[in-house]
């Protein structure tokens, strides 16, 4: 950053924050708070003759629905951060000259299963306080076998995404794994052998305890609510009672100090999206390594909410972090991915897409390979008259 930007201690107050200077194809001309950011062509851009557009205006919208409506009437040229649930609307809007581009982000919509007892606050070791139901591998296997992931993809997402199979679905470290099988009969027999016999109302019981689990996800998300309802039905078919208990996203993702339910282990099953970035180390270490179980001792550090401990996985993650040979690292990460699928701390439902809708007169628009940057390749955009 340029020295002229200001004194480092007062970083928050720099004008630079609202009028940054960079080397990209456009420069920030104006930022009307809450309204729009206007970017003008950078006359000194390194590629002569580009960017083709004279200006790009980023309009700040309060909701996706407003954005979709503006995309349809042509008031905006492109709209990012659409979800899989918008596919139906996008298909309808094709007649109005709207197209879309989608790329796999590497994240999965997944279920996080708690290995430890939710009644105990942030246990460090699930063996000391095991979850009465989910600590049994047979039960976890049965739960996964009872979920028809393809049906969720077909019915709720119109077949537009891939079924989730692995923690590393894409990128140079992609480790494809065999898809989980959907077999409710086998799931039922697994539960029977584990001691869970059907009770009077069809829900299984063992030692007087009902096979009842709470599932939580963010409120106000229609797709997730529908997914939960489908899961409830699928679980009922194998004799598991799934109770929906959603919370606002601020509460679900709250930190250690705000009594965040993930951090303190106060949940049975959670449904949300997460996944690795370009390099898997950060995500795998934070989510699946034994050293990153949030406890009072480490002040709630870590995202290993399942309280999953597997010495081989820990060793593989640690090794891969120290070597630079990509092929060897990939081998180690694939070992981790396979082991995770065997132990089932998380069930991967489907792979998330990054979807951008744009009007067909916007040419040269490409969703970036990393699918993280809306404006990647903005110097190539041009408008067909």
């Amino acid at each position: 950053m340029p020295d002229t930007a200001g004194d480092l201690a007062a970083l928050d107050t720099w004008d630079f924050n609202r009028a940054p200077v960079g080397t990209g194809p456009f420069i920030v001309k104006d930022w009307a708070a809450g309204e729009a950011i206007t970017l003008e062509k950078n006359a000194n851009y390194r590629i002569a003759g580009q960017p083709y557009l004279d200006a790009v205006i980023i309009k700040i919208l309060p909701s996706r629905e407003v954005g979709m409506q503006l995309l349809g009437t042509g008031e905006i040229g492109a709209l990012w951060d659409l979800t899989e649930a918008d596919f139906a609307s996008l298909a309808q809007m094709q007649a109005q000259g709207v197209a879309y581009a989608a790329a796999v982000t590497g994240e999965n919509e997944l279920l996080v299963l708690n290995f430890a007892d939710p009644a105990v606050d942030a246990p460090a070791d699930p063996a000391a306080a095991p979850h009465p139901i989910l600590s049994d591998l047979a039960v976890r296997q049965a739960l996964q076998m009872g979920i028809d992931k393809q049906k969720i993809v077909d019915a709720l997402l119109f077949g537009n995404v891939r079924v989730g199979t692995t923690v590393l679905p894409t990128g140079q470290f992609a480790c494809p794994q065999p898809a989980s099988i959907f077999d409710p009969q086998q799931a039922a027999s697994l539960l029977e052998s584990a001691g869970w016999k059907p009770g009077a109302d069809g829900i299984r019981e063992k030692d007087g305890k009902r096979l009842s689990l709470k599932i939580a996800t963010t409120t106000g998300n229609q797709l997730r609510e529908q997914t939960e309802q489908v899961l409830v039905e699928m679980m009922k078919a194998i004799g598991v009672e799934l109770v929906i208990d959603n919370v606002p996203s601020d509460v679900l993702f709250a930190g250690w100090d705000s009594a965040g339910m993930r951090k303190h282990g106060a949940f049975d099953i959670l449904l949300y999206t997460t996944g690795p970035g370009i390099d898997p180390d950060s995500h795998l270490f934070g989510n699946y390594h034994g050293a990153r179980i949030p406890t009072a001792e480490n002040e709630g550090t870590g995202n290993n909410y399942s309280r999953y401990i597997n010495a081989e996985v820990d060793a593989a993650i640690d090794d891969a972090a120290t070597i630079t040979d990509v092929a060897k690292r990939k081998e180690l990460y694939c070992k981790v991915a396979a082991q995770i699928n065997t132990d089932i701390p998380r069930i991967y439902l489907y792979e998330r897409l990054l979807i951008t809708g744009y009007r067909t007169n916007l040419q040269g628009f490409v969703v970036s390979p990393g699918a993280s940057d809306f404006a990647w390749g903005a110097q190539n955009w041009w408008l067909k008259p």
Binding site: N17, A33, L61, P62, D257, N303
Partner: protein, 323 residues
């Protein structure tokens, strides 16, 4: 009068103090919190999070935080937004003109619609005009405001098209993107949101004025004025309306704070960058400097406007004695 004003001002300050105390307590106890944004980030170490917490002053107990906030605010430092790191007052100042424009035009439109309709409706009581107007008012008061707004957008922005195939009326924003400032453009962008808000407000005002006017028309002094031989127009506008307007002054006066507060539904549906949306987003993220700033200003305005209304009422109606 001065004693009355003094007493009311002291009461106002006390009320404001209590309100700020309650609001601060509520906002600080809300779950989630500003730090939850960092919880998912695996690169944040606990030291970083602790340092940020200390920097934002979130480590102190709530009463101490309140005292600090109160001290700063009284000294003129309203704090920085925890989300955008800009001064809270700057965030408000950026959006205040937009809100005042929208709400000001709405208020004007509301009065321009409600007053004539209310008067005519009262004068021509039980005629077809009256029935039509009261039905319209009833519809306006019953309509969910957001549904009506979306309907306006569908009809005027999506379905109906202008000569060049673009929407007949813009359904979003304050001005057309990328085009130079033009008053006509601003007016076009105001039409739909103002229609949506004014229709609903005018409905309420019109019924109020109508009933107030009806009360007055049947008073003895109006009958006397007619008996004296005054023209009907004089009777209505010079004698009856003046008295009927007084309660309306109360209504309008109490509505004045909305010039600042904005309308959340309108701002969300029409992507209008106003204070309503600012407050809503700040509250969701428990960005307490912005939330407290908006709430304190808004409460202050409500208290001030109710005082103004009381004084004005006393000035207009000689029967009222303050104190």
């Amino acid at each position: 009068m001065t004693a009355y004003l003094l007493r009311r001002s002291l009461q106002a300050l006390l009320t404001l103090f209590v309100i700020s105390l309650i609001l601060f307590g509520l906002i600080s106890s809300a779950p989630g919190g500003i730090m939850s944004a960092y919880a998912e980030n695996t690169d944040m170490t606990p030291e970083d999070i602790a340092r940020l917490r200390a920097k934002y002053g979130l480590d102190d107990p709530v009463p101490l935080r309140y005292v600090k906030w109160l001290g700063n605010t009284l000294r003129g430092d309203w704090g920085d937004s925890l989300v955008s790191k800009r001064p809270a007052l700057q965030e408000i100042a950026d959006r205040l003109p937009n809100t005042m424009l929208l709400m000001g035009v709405t208020l004007l439109a509301t009065l321009l619609i409600a007053i004539p309709l209310g008067i005519l409706s009262a004068i021509k009581q039980y005629t077809w005009f009256d029935h039509f107007a009261t039905t319209l008012a009833f519809a306006g008061q019953s309509l969910p405001v957001f549904w009506f707004g979306l309907l306006l957008i569908i009809v005027f922005s999506v379905t109906l098209r202008g000569a060049d195939g673009r929407p007949l009326l813009p359904g979003s924003g304050m001005s057309s993107l990328g085009e130079p400032f033009s008053v006509a453009d601003r007016i076009r962008h105001l039409i739909l949101p103002v229609t949506m808000l004014a229709f609903v407000s005018a409905a309420g005002y019109m019924r109020y004025l109508r009933s107030s006017m009806l009360d007055v028309i049947h008073e003895d002094y109006v009958r006397t004025a007619r008996a004296k031989g005054l023209r009907e127009r004089m009777v209505i506008y010079r004698h009856a309306l003046r008295n009927a307007l007084i309660p309306l002054v109360t209504l309008v006066g109490l509505d004045l704070p909305s010039l600042f507060g904005g309308a959340l539904f309108t701002e969300t549906i029409f992507a209008w960058p106003g204070i309503g949306r600012l407050y809503f987003n700040a509250a969701l993220k428990t960005d307490y400097p912005v939330v407290m700033a908006v709430l304190v200003i808004y409460s202050g305005l409500i208290i001030a406007s109710s005082l103004l209304v009381d004084v004005l009422y006393a000035a207009l109606d000689p029967r009222i004695r303050l104190g």
